[in-house]
């Protein structure tokens, strides 16, 4: 546990320190949320119906942006050897890295999501649901993204590869989250979507690290 906290602190410092990782993700998020309405036309009622979906999809993309280098940096400079030989198993290393990514990028994005949704004209009634959805979904985005990042280790053009591996895995949380938000906005039962999203996030957190550790071992071999 002590080792886990030491590593988590380092990962957070790396995420916050290196050119303001969370700020970059937030800026990207703001750009996407601004661009989509420009493309979709400016009729307010159409925008309002798209707003929860846009806020949600942009969240997935912004999470992906900062994930590519999650393992690659440590792999290139040899730090992954050190992490693999430490007191904690590689599975715990993967958890620490993904958790740090979520704390540094996912959580700030989850707090920005309601602002974006309101700015696009979404009904304010969805805000209490949007924050927990974005927090839980962000957790799934971080852990699945880490899986993609570890599988792409050592390949050239890693960024594109990560996106191609990860985006299909982002489909279920995007559907569940956007579905729940849509249902709430339309006055329909919405708990099912939220529970499915929570279940999917829990599965990603539980199973992702096992796969990430295996992928890292494979890359080191």
């Amino acid at each position: 546990m002590r080792a886990f906290l030491i590593l988590l602190r380092r990962e957070l410092a790396l995420a916050w320190g290196n050119g303001g990782g969370p700020l970059l993700a937030l800026a990207f998020y703001a750009c996407v949320v601004t661009l989509l309405p420009l493309a979709a036309g400016r009729a307010p009622e159409r925008l309002a119906s798209l707003a929860p979906g846009i806020a949600w999809l942009a969240l997935a993309l912004a999470a992906l942006l900062s994930l590519e280098r999650l393992f690659e940096r440590d792999f290139e400079d040899g730090a992954l050897d050190l992490l693999a030989l430490g007191p904690a198993p590689l599975e715990a290393v993967a958890v620490a890295k993904c958790l740090a990514h979520w704390l540094a990028a996912g959580a700030p994005l989850a707090l920005a999501a309601p602002v974006a949704a309101l700015a696009l004209g979404a009904p304010s009634s969805i805000i209490p649901l949007l924050i927990p959805c974005a927090l839980a979904g962000g957790l799934a985005f971080s852990f699945l993204g880490g899986l993609g990042a570890s599988l792409a280790l050592g390949s050239k053009r890693g960024g594109l590869l990560v996106a191609v591996i990860v985006l299909p895995l982002y489909v279920p949380p995007v559907i569940f989250g956007a579905g729940a938000l849509d249902a709430l906005a339309g006055g329909l039962p919405w708990t099912g979507g939220l529970f499915l999203l929570l279940a999917y996030s829990a599965a990603a957190v539980a199973l992702g690290p096992i796969a990430m550790a295996a992928a890292c071992r494979n890359a080191l071999d």
Partner: protein, 204 residues
Amino acid sequence: MLRAIRIKDLSLVRGERRLFSGLDLEISAGDAVALTGRNGAGKTSLLRAVAGLLRPAQGTVGFEGEAGPLEAEVARADALHLVGHHDGLKSTRSAWDELLFQTLWTGGTEASARAAATKLDLDRLLGLEIRRLSAGQRRRVALARLLASPRALWLLDEPMAPLDAGHREGFGGLMAQHLAGGGMVLAAVHDPLPVPCRVVEIGG
């Protein structure tokens, strides 16, 4: 405490190429072994196989403690250091942040990190970012964790290549102390090690 390493009938294959086969090597407390051989002979791969990062094609690496054989996973997690030719340091962090993380991660304390920095003549460099350091200074930061968190087996890959003459001598003295205290050193080198050692040629 790790007392001996027994490498038996080890074969390593990288891709299609067999690096070496049938390697037997025993290292016991107080021994230093220098691995020599041409470039690409498999010295680095042997170190990584001992560290458990590479799966051998054949053969075993056994670890022995005072009370008999140790489980390899346990021995690797708390009884060996691997310092490779990549230093594992983040270029944007300060030397002290990186040294402290590496020390704590491998089981040392803040005080031991300070002491190690002093022994390796790093005191004036600790506040600098890693990218401002020269190759030799970076290597000394990486080597500092060997002293900061004492572990019995040092796996070193060209440890002294970037060091200047003075620091080579200094590090030689630290290696001798480690050996005198019952430590072990397995180092891939092209220049002779500055301590009495056995020379094993790989892929000869």
